[in-house]
């Protein structure tokens, strides 16, 4: 059955009924175009082009609607939490799209399903020059890398207590305990969702626990998935940071370990001009927080546990829904889970090589 989000009349009626959320002087609203976006598969993302009417006439207002799939979400974090992250970051130095409201009234929500609405920020996630090894692109690649690291620094410098993130996420008992407590929490979550005990998970977690870092400099707000494909860029700047599904409070190394493609290694005439050592130095100069390569490696290994947990979340939906489970969930629980298991096996194997 086609979604009601594809029906412009339904969407117009919904927006108009919430017009006070669209701006202080908005007197009416209608939708002129709606499209489901193919990026961001863990939840549904819809682009809605709205036109709002005020005392000075009409103006365009690009919006995004996020909601779970009918089967739920791929990631085991809830939609409301995702909305609350955007709402709490509104008055900080972190660039995010403005969250407008969380719709939980089934009587007015399209398809009767909860979702939230945020402004859609103009820009692009795609930085085609990143993978271009032409030396003429070096400056641009390094500058983009710096800009991204500065944005992460801004996230990590958020006063998370003042913004109320301690009411949204578990708070590590200390910076030193952040790694091991996160490991325990994610392992428990993966085991509950898997439905059967996993020897490869047990071995990998044992190896990770044995070398869990205790030298985190602080507990900070972490974004989770970040980097190329996750932020909105315009004119060489990040204008909106998106995808906060794996956000948490913890060691800043958690985020640096999840950077996607934004720290290219560039070697010219046998000399490294950019890479992780330079990136970490730049990050520290902007945040005042030290992240060692050792902690970076640990959190990269931990990611296999996080990945298995979200794959197991998809697998639980497949078990619950049977033949009606969306294919994307099946694929995540199948192929992606296997890749997580391979990484876990490699982490487990490293326990032996570390002791021999």
């Amino acid at each position: 059955m086609a979604s009601q989000l594809l029906d412009l009349d339904v969407v117009s009626g919904w927006l108009d009924s919430r017009r006070e959320r669209l701006g202080p002087r908005v007197q009416g609203a209608r939708a002129v175009r709606v499209e489901q976006l193919s990026r961001g598969v863990s939840r549904e993302t819809w682009a809605v082009d709205a036109v709002v009417r005020g005392p000075d006439g009409e103006r365009e207002l690009p919006l995004a609607v996020r909601r779970d799939h009918p089967a739920g979400s791929v990631i085991p974090s809830d939609l409301r939490t995702e909305y609350e992250v955007y709402a709490r970051l509104a008055d900080t130095a972190v660039p995010v799209a403005r969250a407008l409201w969380f719709e939980d009234d089934a009587a007015v929500a399209p398809d009767g399903r909860p979702g939230y609405v945020r402004e859609r920020v103009r820009g692009s996630w795609h930085l085609p020059f990143l993978s271009d090894d032409d030396p003429a692109r070096d400056d641009r690649r390094i500058e983009a890398s710096r800009v991204h690291l500065e944005a992460l620094a801004a996230v990590h410098l958020v006063d998370w207590r003042t913004c109320g993130f301690d009411r949204l996420f578990p708070v590590p008992s200390s910076p030193a305990a952040a790694a091991v407590e996160l490991l325990e929490r994610v392992r428990r979550q993966a085991e509950e969702l898997l439905g059967e005990a996993s020897p490869v998970l047990a071995e990998a977690c044992s190896a990770l626990a044995a070398r869990a870092p205790r030298d985190a400099p602080a507990v900070v707000l972490c974004k989770g998935t970040n980097g190329h494909g996750e932020e909105v860029w315009r004119d060489g700047r990040i204008v909106a940071m998106s995808d906060w599904e794996l956000a948490c409070l913890g060691d800043p190394a958690y985020d640096l370990a999840q950077v996607q493609e934004m720290v290219p290694t560039i070697v010219r005439d046998g000399r490294r001009v950019w890479g992780w050592p330079e990136a970490l130095e730049h990050y520290t100069s902007r945040s005042g927080l030290v992240v060692t390569e050792e902690r970076l490696r640990w959190y990269r290994d931990l990611y296999a546990v996080l990945q298995l947990a979200y794959c197991a979340h998809s697998g639980a939906a497949v078990r619950r829904l049977g033949a009606t489970a969306p294919l994307r969930f099946v694929w995540t629980a199948y192929e992606v889970a296997y890749h997580a298991e391979r990484k876990l096996a490699a982490v487990a194997a490293s326990a032996r090589s570390a002791t021999t």
């Binding site: 489901q36 193919s38 059967e196 005990a197 996993s198 020897p199 490869v200 998970l201 047990a202 071995e203 044992s206 190896a207 044995a210 294919l327 994307r328 099946v330 694929w331 199948y334 192929e335 296997y338 298991e341 391979r342 096996a345 487990a348 194997a349 326990a351 032996r352 002791t355």
Partner: protein
């Protein structure tokens, strides 16, 4: 009966790729179709080799747990499937029970250098490697 399941799935893959895919215009449907074809490819290989892989895995897990059961005071090793030629589902159930037993035993022996833990990691690695034919090698052709 001929054609067997492998031929049936292979023919379905060919039909979806050669006949259905070129007619699909919607981007989301096209992507979903590519994923479906890949999963069918995987299933074809799985039909061919998984039972043998499960039998090998169960034998290895059982041997390891039986070898250490008394010395480490481990829980009883789960019983094997009752039938001489168990169905895939029964084999999978047996493997899951043995894996659970191994996971519990790993947690019960905290020293990662204990010979049991070293042997457990080898068994775990081989178990992961056995799935590669249908979870890595089978995925050929256009992706999602």
């Amino acid at each position: 009966m001929h054609p067997g399941p492998l031929e049936v799935v292979a023919a379905a893959v060919t039909a979806l790729e050669d006949v259905v895919a070129p007619a699909v215009r919607d981007e989301h449907a096209e992507s979903t179709l590519r994923t479906a074809v890949q999963l069918l490819r995987s299933t074809r290989v799985r039909l061919e080799v998984e039972q043998q892989a499960l039998a090998e895995e169960c034998a290895e897990l059982r041997a390891l747990l039986e070898l250490w059961q008394v010395r480490l005071a481990l829980a009883a090793v789960p019983a094997p499937a009752a039938l001489r030629y168990p169905a895939r589902a029964e084999q999978a159930h047996e493997a899951a029970a043995l894996r659970s037993a191994l996971a519990a035993a790993i947690d019960a022996v905290p020293d990662p250098d204990h010979p049991f833990r070293v042997a457990a990691r080898d068994v775990v690695q081989r178990s992961v490697d056995r799935q590669q034919p249908w979870l890595v090698d089978a995925f050929t052709g256009p992706r999602r």
